[in-house]
């Protein structure tokens, strides 16, 4: 065991699953009679965030059923994985996340990796069960530092509109969802992903500004209500 090796321990975060080994798979046979939420890529997201906060010369190794190991190196912003991102498993099975020191001999022999942004975008969008990442605050306001390279990322028109909003002003997640008429879970996923991609800056509200009410309830707008601007008409015309 290396000094700074760490594994994701969901038992600390999911009381209902505390008797079962974490697999990230709600179909685990160990959990008969208990519904265990799928934590998906949450463990990987946490490992990446920790390494971003305390950079070390380490790699993240992700093992899961039916896939060869995924190796992530934040220092070089690269990853190595045989699975193409078009086949990204949104609900990984039997996932295991380990942070381990780089082995210079292995690093020297490794071929150049693939740019990490597209993978981190997917991880951010498929972790935390649609809730806000644990290191983010619901009442904090977020603004974009720079746009993600959307031509290289699978994205929706709603994500594009929310991103445009974040380019202009600081918004808490609830207001972002409300203003863009988006599902709050989608807004949280977007913020999670941008946070992992280090594309956000945050500012905390003054104590007097902190709302005591919950996020507004999301009611999807009727289709005819979405037909306002040129963006909507272009989206329809282009079949997006």
């Amino acid at each position: 065991m290396h000094g700074h090796e760490m594994t994701f321990d969901p038992a600390r975060t999911a009381p209902a699953a505390s008797q079962a080994p974490f697999t990230g798979d709600s179909r685990s046979p160990e959990t008969t009679g208990i519904t265990v939420p799928s934590f998906g890529w949450t463990g990987v997201a946490i490992a990446l965030h920790r390494l971003q906060q305390q950079p070390t010369s380490s790699i993240v190794v992700v093992r899961q059923a039916d896939h060869l190991p995924l190796v992530i190196d934040l220092e070089t912003n690269a990853y190595w994985w045989d699975t193409p991102l078009t086949a990204f498993p949104s609900e990984p099975v039997d996932i295991d996340v380990v942070v381990e020191p780089k082995d210079p001999a292995v690093e020297a022999s490794r071929a150049p990796g693939t740019d990490l942004d597209a993978l981190v975008w997917l991880i951010g969008n498929h972790s935390f069960l649609g809730e806000l990442a644990w290191w983010l605050q619901r009442d904090d306001r977020y603004k974009l530092v720079r746009w993600p390279n959307f031509t290289m990322l699978a994205h929706t028109p709603e994500q594009m509109r929310m991103t445009a909003m974040l380019g202009y002003t600081f918004l808490p997640v609830g207001e972002l969802a409300n203003a863009s008429e988006s599902d709050p879970a989608e807004a949280r996923r977007l913020i999670n992903a941008f946070s992992l991609m280090r594309l956000l800056r945050a500012e905390s509200p003054e104590p007097s500004e902190v709302a005591v009410s919950a996020d507004p309830v999301y009611v999807p707008p009727a289709p005819q209500q979405r037909r306002g601007g040129l963006f909507s008409r272009l989206r329809d015309r282009l079949g997006l």
Partner: protein
């Protein structure tokens, strides 16, 4: 019918004509001539006046796509079109000698659009030259205007999905800016509220 003029600007050889061809639903009207400036861009022809394509949105809107000549000697064309333009896709060639400098020079020429948030930067040929990165472009833009977050993407102008993303982002950005300016303007000042 409402008309929305979108410009495609940038240095010679950045892919403006190709980008319009990819997006336009009609055959693009091309006004190219023999390129006599092989030092800047090694291609047979270059745009000397305008390229034109369009996207029709039902009976109500038409998006007009104008490719404007990349050479400074045609800059009289720029001033005519930028008055009518809603926004601009600024294409820069990533394997040029100084693509970041070229981007900034063009933005100076189109300052009004830039100030209105009506610009998306699209870096072509990033498969040939990996640098500058989108982060490099963004850093230069932030240094110039810290209050604006200009979208910067890598693109292959032949790829329809990528060019649609660029166009949709430009429109989303313009509409969001208008929305925030409207909401800011409509908020009563403290004096008025009293």
């Amino acid at each position: 019918m409402a008309e929305h003029v979108i410009l495609f600007g940038g240095p010679m050889g950045a892919g403006k004509t190709t980008a319009i061809e990819t997006l336009s639903e009609t055959e693009v009207v091309r006004t190219e001539a023999a390129n006599t400036d092989r030092e800047t861009a090694d291609k047979d022809t270059t745009t000397v006046a305008l390229d034109y394509g369009e996207i029709t949105l039902g009976d109500t809107d038409k998006v007009r796509l104008y490719g404007i000549p990349g050479q400074q000697r045609f800059d009289f064309m720029w001033s005519i079109l930028k008055e009518r333009a809603k926004g601009m896709v600024l294409l820069v060639n990533n394997d040029a000698a100084d693509p970041v400098g070229e981007m900034l020079a063009f933005l100076d020429e189109f300052r009004d659009l830039y100030d209105r948030g009506g610009v998306v930067v699209a870096a072509t040929r990033s498969d040939v030259s990996a640098t500058p990165t989108v982060a490099d472009y963004s850093a230069a833009l932030t240094e110039r205007r810290p209050d604006l977050v200009v979208p910067v993407f890598t693109v292959d102008p032949r790829e329809e999905d990528q060019m649609r993303t660029v166009l949709m982002t430009l429109v989303a950005n313009i509409e969001m800016r208008e929305m925030f300016l409207t909401s800011t303007a409509s908020q009563p000042t403290s004096a008025a509220a009293r």
